[in-house]
């Protein structure tokens, strides 16, 4: 049994000897098992058909070489009818030079594994219709290079023809975009490239250099960015396109550039605002300087006029002044001095009006509704601890008032603190608000419902914190051209704050006020009023007033002053309130002008300040019409 033939080191390799006639001479048992033969002497071409038709070639091996011929993965159908298999065959000229040694090794398992890989790879390439460029690349670098490019380098490849129609893509590209791409125009697959066809065609024609487009978003619905490289094909007209995910550094750089741009814009905006503030501040400083200088001049002039008046008044009281000529001279001088004072007061009024307008310009509309609600909500718990019922009732919408929201909020807070501090346990504090003429009224009422006979407020020590609170509220309110009224009734306390409407709301209110001014004041046409023991009667149609049945010759402003005092004769009217009421149509009015006006009205009423008759002065507060 095959004694002279060297056995293979690998026991799965079968060995056989072939004689000079190309017949099977003898063989190892394993060869019979691998090849599937049992009979010696068979022609080699019948045992292994792969050697059919090449007999001349085998014989040539003996003279010209090569001495050995190896064939891998030969598909073999055994003559004994067993299962087909794959063999690695090796035939070599033997030591005599006449015959051959033949080895056969069963590599079916390896062939099946290889077959699966090739099948998978070929399937991929068939779907992609691998283009020549990629094909040659693969021939040089071996199969799977495209998959490796994707897996290890994140590269996608695509090949387009001269018309920018996709001929082939690497499988990952198709998988990433989840749609078949072969045969589609490049710009349809990548809408980002639309409009660049001309430039791409120039690269195809070799008129432009290869092009790298960094950070492109291939699909608007996908967030990733890609770097794309367009290279002209060498095998045909077209482009090889290499796509790679944009590295993080590029994204970070883009983000930083974006942030830098935003900061630059913000910086420019802040610079513009700062410049505007500097300009406004300079204007304010200049205005203030001019105002101070002007006021100093005016005060000097007024003092001068007053000294003239004082001098002549003193001189008139002397016996020597009884001469008519001297008296006439004194009267003329005094009249001139008074006229001078009037003119100076007008200038003061003008300055004040301008200042007030400036202040108004610096104010913004404030939402009273919101400020009150916040003030109440913040004090609900505190009121509950004091056994107080703090309620708020507001209309759905209040027009805005002119002022500083933060200052107003502080004022409302102090107002409520004052009310809470004054209220006795079980009292009810009602906060309400409404529109009255060009004002928004905020009313805080402290009382005990159903128990009118019992006062709901504590006695007020003169040095208590409550006085401080109310003073602070008054300061806040008056700083907003508003005013505050405090009324202690038998049953409790009522605080009313007037705040001027802002801007447009104020204009709308004026229309309403003008339409029925006197009606709004609540006076009847001939309603008689009893004042200081006499009867004051006002005729709103003819704007005529009678006192003790004696007609009064009043200017329109004096008439309005008298009507307002009569309508609110049950309380003291503050200076600010009167200034606001009277100064609305005539322009802003100063306190000095008001005093002059009061003095004239009092003169026409036949009244005098010293006598404290009809029109009484409450020092530090305002005026009231005596009933």
């Amino acid at each position: 049994m095959y004694p002279s033939f060297p056995l293979s080191k690998e026991n799965e390799t079968g060995l056989a000897r072939i004689d000079a006639d190309l017949r099977l001479q003898d063989y190892s048992p394993f060869f019979a098992q691998v090849v599937g033969v049992t009979t010696p002497g068979l022609p080699l071409a019948e045992v292994l058909p792969v050697f059919a038709g090449v007999e001349d070639w085998l014989r040539q091996m003996r003279q010209r070489g090569p001495r050995i011929w190896e064939l891998r993965f030969v598909h073999h159908i055994p003559p004994d009818g067993s299962e087909p298999r794959y063999l690695d065959l090796s035939i070599a000229v033997d030591e005599t030079g006449e015959g051959w040694h033949l080895s056969a090794r069963d590599v079916t398992a390896a062939a099946e594994r290889l077959h699966q890989e090739v099948q998978r790879f070929n399937d991929i390439r068939i779907r992609g219709h691998q283009p020549p460029a990629a094909h040659h690349l693969m021939r040089r670098l071996g199969p799977g290079i495209l998959v490796a490019l994707w897996e290890h380098l994140g590269l996608m490849l695509a090949v387009v023809d001269a018309n920018l129609i996709i001929e082939a893509v690497t499988p990952p590209t198709t998988m990433t975009l989840q749609r078949p791409l072969i045969g589609l125009p490049l710009t349809e697959v990548l809408p980002t490239l639309a409009g660049l066809e001309g430039e791409l065609q120039r690269i195809v024609r070799g008129e432009a250099a290869p092009w790298r487009l960094p950070g492109l978003q291939l699909d608007p619905e996908l967030p990733q960015h890609w770097d794309i490289l367009f290279i002209p094909r060498t095998d045909a007209a077209g482009l090889l396109i290499i796509v790679q995910r944009t590295v993080n550094e590029t994204l970070i750089e883009q983000e930083l550039r974006q942030q830098r741009n935003e900061l630059t814009l913000l910086h420019k905006e802040l610079e513009a605002q700062a410049m505007a503030l500097r300009t406004a501040n300079e204007r304010l400083v200049n205005l203030d300087r001019e105002r101070r200088a002007l006021m100093a001049l005016i005060v000097g002039d007024i003092k001068s006029a007053l000294s003239v008046i004082g001098g002549y008044s003193e001189w008139l009281t002397r016996p020597a002044s009884t001469a008519i000529a001297f008296q006439q001279e004194a009267v003329v001088s005094i009249r001139e001095a008074v006229a001078q004072i009037d003119r100076l007061l007008d200038r003061v009024m003008t300055i004040e009006r301008l200042e007030n307008k400036l202040v108004q310009l610096q104010r913004t509309p404030c939402d009273v509704h919101l400020l009150l609600e916040e003030a109440v909500v913040m004090r609900q718990e505190h009121a509950r601890m004091q056994h107080l019922d703090l309620q708020i009732e507001l209309p759905e919408r209040l027009p805005p008032v002119s002022g500083d929201a933060q200052v107003l909020a502080e004022g409302f807070g102090r107002l409520l603190d004052y009310a809470i501090g004054r209220a006795i346990p079980s009292a009810r504090i009602e906060v309400s608000s409404r529109v009255w003429k060009e004002w928004v009224l905020v009313e805080v009422t402290v009382g005990i419902p159903g128990r009118p006979e019992q006062a709901a407020v504590k006695a007020l020590p003169s040095s208590s914190q409550h006085v401080f609170e109310l003073t602070q509220v008054r300061l806040v309110v008056e700083s907003h051209d508003g005013h505050l009224a405090l009324e202690e009734t038998k049953n409790g306390l009522q605080l009313v704050v007037w705040l001027p409407l802002a801007g447009e709301a104020k204009d709308r209110s004026n229309v309403t006020v003008d339409r029925g001014k006197d009606d709004a004041m609540g006076l009847g046409q001939y309603e008689p009023l009893v004042v200081a023991g006499g009867t004051l009667r006002l005729d709103r149609t003819r704007r005529q007033a009678w006192l003790y049945e004696r007609p009064l010759l009043l200017t329109p402003l004096e008439y309005r002053l008298l009507v307002y005092l009569a309508q609110h004769r049950d309380r003291v009217i503050g200076h600010k309130e009167l200034l606001a009421v009277l100064g609305h149509e005539e322009g802003e009015m100063s306190l000095n002008h008001l005093r002059v006006l009061i003095a004239r009205l009092r003169n026409k009423l036949g009244d005098s300040e010293e006598a404290s008759g009809i029109l009484r002065t409450v020092r530090g507060v305002g005026y009231t019409l005596a009933s």
Partner: protein
């Protein structure tokens, strides 16, 4: 009538239809499923050539296509009398590379007979452009060319008979 055996290699890129052509020629059948060929599959077919008073047994070597064969091609090509070089009509690149296959094959087997075939013609409506393209490369090798379809059988018998005729003359 003498009988001669000749080794014939089918060359070409993967999935151009080499196995299908052999299956059509040898067994006269067609299977649409693609199954890649590994190594070499051997088939035989007798072709009677009355004009030569010869029967040629074509030993058909169905080789794996594409780069899989590249490293082993020399071993597979040895002793070949002729080759059928096959391209896919839908893949122009498979036509262009036939020249490379022909050069390698004739280097190993000088004087071997060559026949060119453009397969899958049943998939294109007009054969004219492909005929011109294949004619260009075949003319370079002074070889006949055929437009074939393993699916409907057109040109298959003619291609193999032409190859048998050529190898019988050698």
């Amino acid at each position: 009538m003498p009988v001669i055996q000749r080794k014939i290699c089918l060359l070409g890129e993967f999935a151009v239809g080499k196995t299908s052509l052999i299956r059509r020629f040898v067994h006269n059948r067609f299977e649409a499923d693609y199954l890649a060929t590994i190594g070499v599959h051997i088939s035989r077919k007798e072709v009677v050539l009355p004009e030569h008073d010869t029967t040629v047994v074509l030993v058909l070597w169905d080789l794996s296509g594409g780069e899989m064969a590249s490293s082993l091609e020399e071993a597979y090509y040895r002793g070949g009398a002729g080759a059928l070089l096959v391209a896919d009509v839908l893949r122009p690149d498979t036509v262009a590379v036939l020249n490379t296959y022909a050069m390698t094959y004739t280097r190993i087997n000088p004087g071997a007979a060559l026949v060119f075939a453009c397969n899958k013609m049943d998939l294109v409506p007009d054969e004219t452009p492909y005929r011109l393209k294949l004619a260009e490369i075949a003319q370079r090798w002074r070889a006949p060319f055929f437009l074939t379809s393993a699916r409907d059988g057109r040109g298959v018998e003619d291609a193999f008979r032409a190859l048998a005729y050529l190898v019988a003359r050698r």
